[in-house]
Symmetry: C2
Subunit: 338 residues, 2 copies
Amino acid sequence: MNPAGNAFVSVDWGTSRLRVRLVRRGPDGQWIEAGESATDEGVAAAPDASPSARRGWFAETLRRRVAALPDGAEAPPLPLVVSGMAGSNRGWQELPYASTPFPLDGGAMVCRHLPPPPGLGPVLLASGVRTATEIMRGEETEMIGLVAALPTDPSWQNGWLLLPGTHSKHCRIRDAVLEEFHTAMTGEVFQLLSSHGLLAHAVIREPPNAGDDHPAFFEGVAAAIDTDLLFALFQVRTRQVLRGASPESGRAFLSGLLIGAELRPHIAEGPSGPPILVAADEARARLYCRAAAAAGLEKRLRPAPPGALRRGLVLAHARLLEHFPPPPGPHPASASPP
Amino acid sequence: MNPAGNAFVSVDWGTSRLRVRLVRRGPDGQWIEAGESATDEGVAAAPDASPSARRGWFAETLRRRVAALPDGAEAPPLPLVVSGMAGSNRGWQELPYASTPFPLDGGAMVCRHLPPPPGLGPVLLASGVRTATEIMRGEETEMIGLVAALPTDPSWQNGWLLLPGTHSKHCRIRDAVLEEFHTAMTGEVFQLLSSHGLLAHAVIREPPNAGDDHPAFFEGVAAAIDTDLLFALFQVRTRQVLRGASPESGRAFLSGLLIGAELRPHIAEGPSGPPILVAADEARARLYCRAAAAAGLEKRLRPAPPGALRRGLVLAHARLLEHFPPPPGPHPASASPP
């Protein structure tokens, strides 16, 4: 029997979000999401308390989310797979990183079985990956999932996978092995500059509905290509002072500027460099495609199919359960009632 | 008679600081500082009130600072020269910018005479300089002063003047004419990243006494040369996680990283590019010289002599009074007593 049986609970525990999904095997043997319970109870919400109190918070928070799933209280309790920041020093239990080169079939992950917490099944906690100078926790699981969801994508032979976000990951892959990766602090720098200091006065905080189509976005991409970022940033201010640019225009310009800066290493590889697969929600993927076109990378960069990232995460968790099945023997029912 | 007579008041009104200096002519005809009164009453401290209430705040704040000078209440009231952000839309009265090319003898400045405020002499308010995409207010006056203080420096024939700060100005000069300039948001980005977000946990807020000598500073410069800034920033975090780097080390690394990023355009010009004169306080100038040496720019970059920036500002204000003497006729004594 497959170690995951016919159902398991997929847990993506990020810094700011907790996403718990019930996953069942469908009639054709495929894994199907059968329900989700997501909240803002990310790792950052854990109390600043003793290690055992923190562990208790993680177990109890997860128990409540599982109970909120359809049939979440079914017996025997389902196995759980947890990836993301839960394996960090700010998380449930700190696990060491796996190292590159890191095969993307899931077998090279550093994982640990936690005993079943009160009211829950056995927990498989997944760690992250490091190089000499870089770290990630969670994105490696997304990559394992994308390889599973898009097995014939040419990126796995020789390409870049780009996972945009607060800390965007640029992942160099050859023969389905992660060789190296680099982190661009795009999202965080955008957030800081649009919330504090001089540029905050020139950038609207909340995105307008049609903001993604603003021509200032392309101005920003062009500025990023021409000018080192530390200098180009000041143009957010001078566009406002000298040209009366609106805060909506300022936001689009800053967005183009930072995404353009993020694409600079790929521009340096030239238009015939390796393919770049962007996996993100549709709105964000569209921004990267537009910036890539303005930067002469339109033949290299393309978006992953809609939903691939989400579908892949479930597939990755199923793979981890295959590679790291729960220890044999009965899982004792929890001493405390659920 | 020289329009400045034998004494005037030199006012440097920045965003965060107000510096008022009494300047007298010495026995050999040189201008000599005879007293200073400085506070945190920068332009940012002006009340968010009606234009006339704001003008009143500027006049009254200046009157109090002049009164705090030695013999500040002498009659007749001395002429005043005000440069910096006081001429901005957040200042005393908004003046248009002068444009490049901008000769650095002071004659091309946009200036306006304000009527004597209560208890004060006539005020000469100086504006800033713009290009198609850049703006400055105050640094152009510093440049006029440096040319006056260091008349034989080779930078005025063909070179860069670098004025580090919250918004560092890189000024391209030929034949004592400012041709273009570029603003690096070095100080502000340092402040934002070390105060908010992920990197704040890896960077100590207050500089340690010996922090400028930290070897991590050179690591930061090297990272800036190798890696685009948006990516290199994440190393502040990974040095802490993977190598246990202290917050003092994190601060030195981030400082080196940002100063290195600021020097990148000059690195691109090569080791035999134009000379670069750095005008700053001694500690900051030393940092730039160290970074330049690590970046292969040691033959191009050198610091202005200690005190040149301060001495120059007084000389620049004296020049502005020569170019823009107070309007003829008696300056009526203020209606209000000082």
